[in-house]
């Protein structure tokens, strides 16, 4: 087994962070990696500003997978129950799940074409304010609309929508 094979999970995580980080950079969203800090259940914070310069944050759990199960307009992903329950703790923070579909062939994860660097494939987002904790022992199935694609064109507005959804869920706090 090569070094890469041994560390494949780590590299997949790095790829998903790089993917999201590059989209954030192009949208003026700050990306803070939690690698050196224990912020329970999350991998990074996305910090952005509303139209009137008010700071907003999303705490993100990143996942990557080689086999996305899609049916009836939804992507179905089985998330570890412990991780799911941690994301449901959003009393003081907006949490969300991002999933990157990676190619089984790691040699084509990225590709240079002309003067463009391509990162494969799509990343999907899922906002957590409507989720409840599970008592399932192992996993919780998350169904994400296939339209919830991370797109550099409108990602900032999608982040604001996710934050608004969380705020609405906290209404009357």
């Amino acid at each position: 087994m090569t070094f890469f094979d041994k560390q494949r999970t780590k590299f997949q995580e790095d790829l998903s962070k790089a993917y999201l980080r590059s989209v954030c950079a192009s949208q003026g969203i700050l990306f803070f990696d939690h690698a050196d800090r224990d912020l329970d259940g999350t991998d990074c914070t996305l910090r952005f500003y509303s139209d009137n310069d008010k700071q907003r944050e999303l705490l993100v759990q990143l996942k990557s997978t080689q086999n996305l199960n899609t049916s009836q307009g939804f992507i179905h992903y089985d998330l570890d129950s412990v991780v799911h329950n941690k994301l449901c703790d959003n009393e003081f923070r907006a949490t969300c799940l991002f999933i990157l579909e990676v190619n089984p062939n790691s040699s084509i994860w990225t590709e240079l074409s002309g003067n463009e660097l391509l990162i494969r494939h799509r990343m999907y987002y899922f906002e957590y304010s409507q989720e409840d904790t599970t008592i399932n022992g192992s996993t919780k199935r998350i169904s994400i609309p296939v339209t919830n694609v991370v797109d550099p064109k409108d990602f900032l507005s999608k982040c604001n929508e996710m934050h608004d959804a969380w705020l609405i869920s906290k209404g009357g706090n």
Binding site: R37, D38, L39, D40, G41, T42, T45, Y49, D53, K54, Q55, E57, L59, K86, D89, N90, E91, F92, R93, T95, L167, I168, K170, G171, G172, N173
Partner: protein
């Protein structure tokens, strides 16, 4: 240092956080009803913003947001997180940092032989400064004698020494703040969502009694030093009608600060907010001044001979009436010397104490043969209205 998560969650309440941030020029910019958090920004820096929980929580997300806040503040203040945690935990207290500095002590530790005296006299220096600046009209004397005033006794019981800092021997003396706004809101000022942050916290032009005492303690240290440097007479400041009044008690405490080494410097520093301005105040005291102040205090005591303060041992008096049910006074015998001179003769005096306040000290001193300092109003061989403290065990 390294604080545990439990300590952080217990100590760093939203209320304390908001007080700390206000004092460090952060302002609420969003307190929308929907959000469980306030949004604050650092004045004049639009994009340095912080989310602060409106109320204390117990969830993991609460713990995470508190950890993030401390991390972010440490970044902005360019200091480490432990310092921030300590400052927030003590935000309802003034901190007077007392630093022992001697270039010959290479490991930044403090000789054990001087620690006790430094702590005790630093505390006394502060209490005397408090009395000088806040109770001058009640005492109206250059040298306060007799029973300790209730205000001082109460304050003495509320003073603390905080955790020390690595790298230099700094002892933080913690003094409670008297927060008028906090009292007005029944301790709930920052948990009420409907208050106007700027209006509510804007009326801090006046310094509270403890703030005044800290300012006085440090400023008067400089005054005393300048009088000595200018070869003027310290008598000019011990007049209670003087604008720059300094009591002999203050000077006496000051004369006991530090050790005999010429190299030793004791630094005092603090931060107070006056007229909404943060004032960093600092002074230091060295052996050179200590010797001069000590000589002045000794001379004052000799000239104004005191015969109402004694150190010695207490003995039981024969009880004349054993059927007293509600005892109000306690009368005992004292064999001791006047503190006015080390060579004064041993005298026998009858001392009368308030029973409830002093019974424990007196019985302990008699039963265990402890040395006490007794102060009272002297008439013949009797001291009445006495106070007592155990000085040697």
């Amino acid at each position: 240092m390294g604080y545990s998560n439990d300590y952080i969650l217990d100590s760093i309440t939203p209320n304390k956080l908001m007080r700390y941030l206000k004092e460090n020029n952060w302002t609420i910019i969003d307190d929308s009803f929907d959000s469980p958090n306030y949004l604050l920004s650092k004045n004049d820096e639009d994009f340095k913003q912080l989310l602060i929980p409106k109320k204390k929580g117990s969830s993991q997300s609460y713990k995470n947001i508190i950890q993030t806040i401390i991390y972010e503040i440490a970044l902005v203040q360019q200091t480490n997180e432990d310092v921030i945690i300590n400052n927030i935990a003590n935000v309802d207290k003034y901190v007077v940092n007392i630093r022992y500095a001697n270039p010959n002590v290479k490991n930044s530790n403090i000789p054990a032989s001087i620690l006790y005296e430094l702590l005790e006299n630093a505390k006394k220096l502060y209490l005397n400064s408090y009395a000088d600046v806040n109770l001058k009209d009640i005492t109206a004397t250059p040298y306060r004698r007799g029973k300790t005033l209730d205000q001082i006794q109460n304050l003495d019981g509320r003073l603390e020494f905080g955790q020390t800092t690595t790298g230099s021997y700094i002892i933080p003396l913690l003094i409670p703040k008297e927060d008028i706004n906090f009292e007005l809101h029944d301790g709930d000022i920052f948990e009420n969502q409907n208050f106007d942050f700027n209006n509510e916290t804007g009326n801090e032009e006046l310094l509270d009694s403890n703030g005044k005492a800290i300012l006085n303690m440090i400023e008067k240290m400089d005054l005393v030093k300048s009088i000595i440097d200018d070869k003027e007479d310290l008598n000019i400041i011990i007049d209670p009608s003087s604008e720059n009044f300094v009591s002999v008690n203050y000077l006496s405490s000051l004369s006991s600060i530090g050790d005999e080494s010429d190299e030793t410097i004791i630094e005092f520093s603090s931060t107070v907010i006056k007229n909404n301005d943060v004032k960093n105040i600092k002074s230091s005291f060295s052996s050179r001044y200590k010797k001069k102040v000590f000589a002045f205090v000794e001379e004052y005591k000799k000239t104004n001979k005191l015969d109402n303060i004694f150190t010695g041992k207490l003995y039981k008096l024969t009880v004349d009436n054993t059927e007293v049910i509600e005892r109000k006074t306690l009368v005992v015998s004292l064999e001791g010397q006047s503190i006015s001179s080390a060579s004064s003769k041993i005298q026998k005096l009858v001392c009368e104490f308030e029973y409830e306040r002093y019974k424990d000290i007196i019985f302990n001193a008699i039963e265990n043969g402890l040395t006490v300092k007794v102060e009272g109003d002297r008439t013949g061989n009797k001291l009445s209205n006495c106070s007592a403290e155990i000085i040697y065990k």
